[in-house]
Each structure stands twice: as structure tokens, then as C-alpha cells.
């Protein structure tokens, strides 16, 4: 029972060639390099591995990456739902313009986003100036990291909700209206449950992206040990010290988390499709 073997004969040519090339390229570029993280961690042995990934500075970086990615994704849930709703349901000046700009965080290099937010929120920056009298500091704090991650994750939520909202039949809402439901009841009882799987998918994507994000965060974070060092930065600083085993240990934990997020996402999507059919 070989994997990737043809089930039924198909008359089209090129199966062997295209499949062979696909598997070769996939292995050379993705599978073999990724497995290096694993093979570089094994020689460490269990005790040093645990010691390395539970060092206080590393644990603090995991905690920071998680909490900031979580709060950013949560904020994106609201901002994304709002934007998708407004773009699909209302007509207003500048709508097309906003719709196109939703993709900007995808297209803008992360380093550029990083220096923009760091400059905006610096004590002499456009927004930092306004916040300074209130004694609110954004740069070099977790709040700054959250702001950068909100920007990065935003399009994921909008672009997953938008198609679902567009395909939704408004008759359902009309029926609810005829049966005497208020607009708010219709939203919480009808629309939100229907949009929930897509919302969850978008938020999970934003969260997963936020955990691994590097370029947009490091400029605003200030990278203070134990306070504003994110997990990818820990990998980077271990690499700079040529601590390859340590770097791959931290990376292995991060990869395991990302892959389980991906599996969770697949489960959510299957559930979503089931919901859609019924």
C-alpha cells in the first residue's frame, strides 16, 4: 500500500513525472530542512532539552508571544467582523478603497510595518505624543507588540468572514424580522452562530501567524530580556551565539505548537463544512 499511488488508471499523461517532481521538490525544500530542527535537538538528550526550553528567559518569551498573539487575535475578531460587515452590507464613500486596503498587511513587508509603528508610538511620534501626557507608553511594552500583531492578523479575519457573509441569504434575516425579532436578536441568534466557524478560522490564523511573527514586532518591542522578548527573537539570539542546539530546541517547541494549531484549524474547517451542509 504505497502512498501517493494512483487509485484508478487515468488516461491523462504525466502522472509519474509531475508526482515525482512534486514529491522531490517538497522533500528538498520543506521536509528535509524542517526535519533538521528535530535532528539537531535529539543529540541534546531529554534533560538538557527540558532545561533549555524551560529556562526563565525562554519561558517568559513563550508566555509573551502567546499572550500578545491571543489579545491581538481577539481584537482582530471584533475589528475584522466589523469591517467585513460594513464592507458587505453597507454602501458608503470609499468602500472599494477600504476593501482593497484590507490586504495591505499581506503586501507590506513586515519590517516596514515594524518601523512605522515604532515611529508612530515613540514619545515624539504622531500617536506617542498624544499618549505621553496620559502616561501611556506603548513602545518597549507588550501593548506595542499587540498593536503590531493586530495589524498583521487583521486581513485573515476579514477575508475569511467576507465570503460567508456575502453568500448568506438575507431572507433568513427577513424571516426573523417578520417573526418579531429585533435587529440585535437577529444578529446574536442568527448571524453570529452562522458566522462563528469562519470567525474562528480567521482568528486561529491570525493567532498562529502572531506567534511566529518577527519583522513587525522587533522594532516596537524594544527586546528587553524577560519583558518584551518574543519567542522567535530567542531563536535569533541563540543563533547569534552559535548555540544551534538551543535554537533548535526552542524552535521545536514553537513548531509543535504551530502544527497543532494547524491540525486544530483543519478540525474546525471540517466541522464548518458539516455545519454548512446541514
Amino acid at each position: 500500500m504505497a502512498l501517493f499511488q494512483r487509485k484508478r488508471r487515468n488516461i491523462l499523461p504525466g502522472f509519474g513525472l509531475s508526482m515525482g517532481y512534486t514529491v522531490f521538490y517538497l522533500s528538498a525544500i520543506v521536509i528535509v530542512p524542517l526535519s533538521m530542527v528535530f535532528f539537531n535537538t535529539i543529540p541534546m538528550g531529554w534533560e538538557p532539552f527540558v532545561h533549555s526550553v524551560t529556562a526563565p528567559r525562554v519561558l517568559a518569551s513563550y508566555k509573551l508571544s502567546f499572550s500578545t498573539a491571543f489579545f491581538a487575535a481577539l481584537f482582530d475578531a471584533f475589528a475584522g467582523l466589523l469591517t467585513a460587515w460594513v464592507l458587505v452590507r453597507y454602501r458608503f464613500p470609499g468602500k472599494q478603497f477600504l476593501d482593497a486596503l484590507v490586504d495591505l498587511p499581506f503586501a507590506l513587508p513586515t519590517a516596514v510595518a515594524g518601523i512605522c509603528f515604532a515611529t508612530l508610538y515613540s514619545p515624539i511620534g504622531w500617536l506617542g505624543q498624544l499618549l505621553a501626557p496620559l502616561n501611556l507608553q506603548i513602545i518597549n511594552t507588550p501593548t506595542g507588540i499587540i498593536i503590531a500583531l493586530i495589524f498583521i492578523g487583521f486581513p485573515f479575519v476579514v477575508r475569511t468572514i467576507q465570503p460567508v457573509l456575502e453568500e448568506m441569504e438575507q431572507e433568513i434575516e427577513e424571516a426573523a424580522h417578520c417573526l418579531g425579532a429585533t435587529r440585535w436578536q437577529t444578529f446574536t441568534k442568527i448571524l453570529l452562530p452562522h458566522l462563528f466557524p469562519a470567525l474562528l478560522t480567521g482568528v486561529t490564523l491570525a493567532f498562529a501567524r502572531g506567534i511566529g511573527e518577527y519583522g513587525s514586532v522587533i522594532f516596537i518591542a524594544g527586546n528587553l530580556p524577560m519583558k518584551t522578548e518574543i519567542a522567535p527573537l530567542m531563536i535569533m539570539s541563540k543563533l547569534d551565539q552559535f548555540d544551534y542546539a538551543g535554537a533548535s530546541a526552542v524552535a521545536l517547541v514553537l513548531l509543535c505548537i504551530s502544527f497543532s494549531m494547524l491540525l486544530l484549524l483543519n478540525a474546525v474547517q471540517e466541522w464548518q463544512q458539516k455545519e454548512y451542509r446541514s
Partner: protein, 289 residues
């Protein structure tokens, strides 16, 4: 068929969709604009205000400086290699996945998406672990005069990894929807494999392919984390545009940094405009990681 007459006394009944009250609409639209001002417009405005803060001549000097030009050249070289390589792979993988039935198809599809789940820093790390000068394979390559990490090939490979899924992901749903009837018809009419591909399949997927290539190109230009790990930051040699922006910024040369960054912003805006134009043209609302 006669035109239906509309009496002046009774205006035509327009089917009125239920919608939210105007006040709620204005509130929500206002909130959306507020979010966009804070997170999109202000950063964009800042880039240009900083970039031109010391006038045109300074701006031109910053982007014409030799190191900046070297960075642009390296980035263009990277894109020129990464996009075609990933395009060939994308088309091949999409052909294998959509034109045949085989065991493990969904596994293969998930494997294609793997790079999306990997942090850019890890994407760089894995190539340092594989071919870095301290690894057996890397030192063997070094003895034969081949340097990959801290040099251009490393930047290209890391970028290939990061942008690996873009084109295949664009083509697979498209080719699944198109089915294989046309190719099979061509085959029964005596066309050879290459003829089928170039005369039937390629014209059918050309817009999807172009779309995927644009996304792949945009990401290749802007990739920072992965490239930063494998580059070694040697000015004039292994600096791409985003790395050059970072170096200028960390040297407190903010105006020059934003001037170079503005080039990337122009490209990002161009990408967004082309993307939205193509989506409107083809009435598709696709979603990308």
C-alpha cells in the same frame, strides 16, 4: 412585450431589504474608518512624511546611494529566481493533484501548506542547520568552494521556502473546478502530453497563475525574518531592501530608512491595486495566508 406603465400617482414598489437604521450604519462605518486611520492610513502617511522630511534631494540621494542600489539589485535577483522556480513547481503540483486520483492526496495538500505554519525565523534557522558552515554538509560544500549561508544562495533558498505554497494554493482550487474533460477530449483527438498542457491547460489557468505569481513576488520582495537569519547582513553584498531598511533604521538614519521603505510601500500598494482589480475582474474572493 410592452413596457409596463408606471403611473405617476403610485411609484413603483421597490423591494426593500431590511437593514440597520441609518444611525447604526453611520456609527459602524465611522468605527471602521477610525480603525483604518489608526492602523492603515497613519502608517502609510508616516512613511511618506518621514521619507520626504528632508526634501526631494535627500530622498533621491538615499535611494540612489550605492548600498541601496546593491540591495535593490539583490532583491530583484531573488524575485527573478524565486518566482519562476515556484511557478514551475506550483503548476506541476497542481497538475499532479487535480488531474489524477491517488492515495494520500489530502496529506500531500496539507504538506504543501506547511511553510505557512512556520515562523519566518525558523524558516531561516532550518537552512542554517542544514547547510551552515558548522554542519557536516555545509563544511563539505565549503571545501568545494560553495557558500550558501551568509550569501546569495541562502537568501534565495529561504525565500523559496517562505513563498513555496502561494502559487500551488492558487492553482489547485481553480484546476479542480475546471475538471479534466477538456484535456481528455484533446487526448482522444490525438494531442500529445505537452500539446495538451500548452494548448489547453495553460491558457485555462493563465490568470490564476499570474495572480499567484504576483502574490509570490510581493512576498519575496518583502520577506524579512527568514532572510535576516541567513543573510549575515553584509552591506552591498547580502542585504536585500528590507534588510537595508532595518540597518538604516538601527543606525538612527530614519529619513533614509523611510525613503528606502517608501519604495517597498509603492510596491505593496501596487500589489494591492492589481490584486483587487483582478479579483473584481474574475469575481472571485479568494483568501490567502
Amino acid at each position: 412585450m410592452p413596457e409596463p406603465e408606471i403611473s405617476q400617482d403610485h411609484p413603483p414598489v421597490v423591494k426593500k431589504r431590511i437593514s440597520d437604521p441609518r444611525s447604526i450604519q453611520i456609527l459602524l462605518i465611522g468605527l471602521t474608518y477610525l480603525f483604518f486611520i489608526g492602523f492603515i492610513f497613519l502608517p502609510l502617511g508616516l512613511v511618506f512624511s518621514q521619507a520626504f522630511g528632508k526634501g526631494w534631494s535627500f530622498y533621491l540621494e538615499a535611494i540612489r546611494e550605492p548600498y541601496a542600489i546593491e540591495a535593490v539589485k539583490l532583491t530583484l535577483l531573488t524575485v527573478a529566481i524565486v518566482v519562476p522556480v515556484n511557478a514551475v513547481f506550483g503548476v506541476t503540483a497542481a497538475w499532479a493533484i487535480t488531474k489524477f486520483n491517488f492515495r494520500g492526496k489530502s496529506t500531500l495538500k496539507s504538506l504543501l501548506d506547511l511553510p505557512f505554519a512556520v515562523s519566518p525565523v525558523i524558516a531561516g534557522l532550518i537552512f542554517v542547520l542544514l547547510v551552515g558552515s558548522r554542519t557536516p554538509f555545509g563544511s563539505w560544500l565549503g571545501e568545494h568552494g560553495i557558500k550558501i549561508i551568509f550569501s546569495t544562495p541562502g537568501i534565495i533558498i529561504a525565500t523559496i521556502f517562505v513563498t513555496f505554497p502561494f502559487i500551488a494554493r492558487e492553482l489547485i482550487p481553480l484546476m479542480e473546478a475546471q475538471g479534466r474533460d477538456e484535456e481528455e477530449a484533446a487526448l482522444t483527438l490525438g494531442a500529445k502530453g505537452w500539446q495538451i498542457f500548452s494548448k489547453i491547460t495553460l491558457p485555462n489557468i493563465r490568470w490564476g497563475l499570474l495572480y499567484g505569481m504576483i502574490l509570490c513576488g510581493a512576498r519575496s520582495i518583502g520577506e524579512f525574518g527568514a532572510v535576516s537569519v541567513v543573510s549575515g547582513h553584509i552591506r552591498g553584498q547580502t542585504n536585500t531592501i528590507p534588510l537595508h531598511v532595518e540597518i538604516l533604521y538601527s543606525e538612527y538614519n530614519f529619513t533614509a530608512s523611510f525613503a528606502v521603505a517608501s519604495l517597498l510601500v509603492f510596491l505593496a500598494l501596487l500589489t494591492v491595486v492589481i490584486k483587487s482589480g483582478m479579483e473584481k475582474h474574475f469575481q472571485k474572493n479568494s483568501f490567502h495566508l
